[in-house]
Amino acid sequence: MVGLGLLAVPTGAGAAPVLPPVTPEELVASVLTADPDAFAGTVEVDNSLGLPPLPDVPQAGDGTSTARVWSDGEDGGRVQLPTADGEKTFVSDGTTFWAYDSQGRTVTEGTGADRPARPDAADPAAAATEAIRMLQSSSTVTVDGTAEVAGRPAYELVLSPAPDERTLLREVRIAVDAEQRVPLRMTVLATGSSDPALQVGFTELAFGPQDPALFTFTPPPGSTVVEPDAERPEGLPERPGTAPTVVGDGWDTVVLATVPATGEGEGTGMDLRALGTPVSGPWGSGTLIGTAVANAIVTDDGRVAVGAVPEQVLTEALAR
């Protein structure tokens, strides 16, 4: 019984480690220039965004999912997303990229620009560094004590929106490894909720040289190799004239895009209406899809506006 109790107790809830003080500016600068060593780690994604689980991305739905991440410290990387009865594997050796899906046993192979979509969100280090780069100019940056993540001491870097930013988010907390200056955990907190809307963090992390065989991939017998463009699952529509435009910057960034007009437009419209509520304004009419941290408006004429902002900011962006 005691043993079961030990298994039930969450680990890693130790006291906050004592670290030499650091200014927020130094910490941000060191994160942006950090050159982490090779590592192997396990990442846990705790998702309460309120999105429906998508057929190809069960991780998008609410719940906890894990990812296994390797890096050789250079360009090579490997991400594995296990599900109960399958796995998606993404491998890169720096020039060639492979994506393997165990369900159809398909390998998507590409180089450089043809790089198959990789789940950068599964790598807290990459996602958090990107967030710092995007948000630091429009944020109040503070260091809020220390924390222990995956057994490693870390600084808690807090980015909160400047007062004139109109956003649904309250703050983004990033735990930065004290030694390697790599983000170990990113927590997104929405206004009006004390529970994180999204938390991506390492639960296990070990720095050290990795087996080079991890960063190359040989299509296994019985698998089919497809070109990256031949099978672009629900991917971003990259056609002329549909390149997304960005309105605003920092926390109240709104991304405007155009849904490609297809013959089955009616069908997709129906689905979206089931997900959201109808809205209209001088910009036209459409469907508002809201989650805890972001809103999206899909207009009836096929435009999409997405941002971590209140509805009003979206409609202003659409009206421009």
Partner: protein, 285 residues
């Protein structure tokens, strides 16, 4: 009656029978039961049926689900078959053996002889636990061994290799090692079921009660783990780690899930065997 009292012509004082002979006697007793043999035969059918199903579905059978991972990839079959039969069938076999071991003998009136024989109660518990463990191991090994054969013969291996869920190919040696690992893992989990079943078996005279309580508990565990609000209960439930056997199909091998599950099973073994011993030491003949 599994052992005859050893009578010493010199002094009438009872003497302990050697443990090896006790275990051999229990083994004979367990393996001579027709139901044990029929059950092992039925277990051999599970991988065969899966392999025939997968082979007839052919390439069209690909899609989501673990069974589709077997298509054209025969060495996956033993692991998939073990994972599938672990849900209810293997625990059922173990619960049956545990029910026969104590409650069954008690119902037949043969337990009385055992309790009176010059065998310490502790040895009796060890002997009964050994019998249950043998059934668990045999059932698991049968599923795995027939799974390997059926996978290679009926489904056919991917060039004699095992294609992991991560997209790497393992040679036959490495693949068999993985199967062996899953066998050890499954036997460990079944030992936990068996220990708890023995504990129930030692307090009742009705074998059916043992079967019903073990299967009922498994179903309740399944229901509890499906309720999101009871997520905090997960680390306490034996069944919550039972899918970890599939981890053997991933590369590099993640051992975390299987180790955690095995530790949990160990706790159940300790509790189950503790209760069994406690009850048997105090039981009236």
């Amino acid at each position: 009656m599994t052992t005859a009292p050893v009578l010493d012509p010199v002094s009438d004082a009872p003497r302990a029978a050697p443990l090896g002979r006790l275990l051999a006697a229990e083994l004979r007793w367990v393996l001579r039961r027709p139901r044990t043999l029929v059950m092992l035969g039925l277990f051999a059918l599970i991988p065969v049926l899966i392999s025939i199903g997968v082979a007839t579905a052919g390439a069209t059978g690909r899609g989501p689900g673990l069974v589709s991972a077997v298509a054209g990839n025969g060495l996956v079959l033993p692991i998939v078959a073990l994972t599938l039969s672990m849900a209810l069938l293997l625990p059922l076999a173990v619960a049956m053996a545990a029910a026969d071991a104590i409650a069954g003998e008690s119902a037949h009136g043969t337990l009385r002889g055992l309790l009176l024989s010059p065998v310490s109660r502790l040895r009796l518990v060890v002997m009964k636990a050994f019998g249950v463990l043998v059934v668990a191991t045999l059932a698991t090994v049968v599923v795995a061994a027939v799974g390997v054969l059926a996978g290679l013969v009926v489904v056919g291996g991917a060039d004699g290799q095992l294609v992991t869920l991560s997209g790497t190919a393992l040679g036959p040696g490495a693949a068999l090692l993985r199967v062996g690992l899953v066998v050890v893992f499954v036997v460990g989990q079944l030992a936990a079921v068996g220990a708890v079943a023995l504990a129930v078996s030692s307090v009742t005279d009705h074998p059916l009660v043992v079967l019903a309580s073990v299967l009922g508990a498994l179903i309740v565990f399944g229901v509890l783990s499906a309720i999101p609000a009871l997520e905090w209960l997960q680390p306490w439930l034996l069944t919550s780690g039972w899918t970890a056997g599939v981890d053997a199909l991933r590369d590099p091998l993640p051992l975390g899930g299987m180790i955690e599950s095995s530790l949990r099973a160990l706790c159940y073994v300790a509790v189950g065997m503790g209760l069994t011993t406690y009850r048997m030491l105090r039981r009236d003949a």
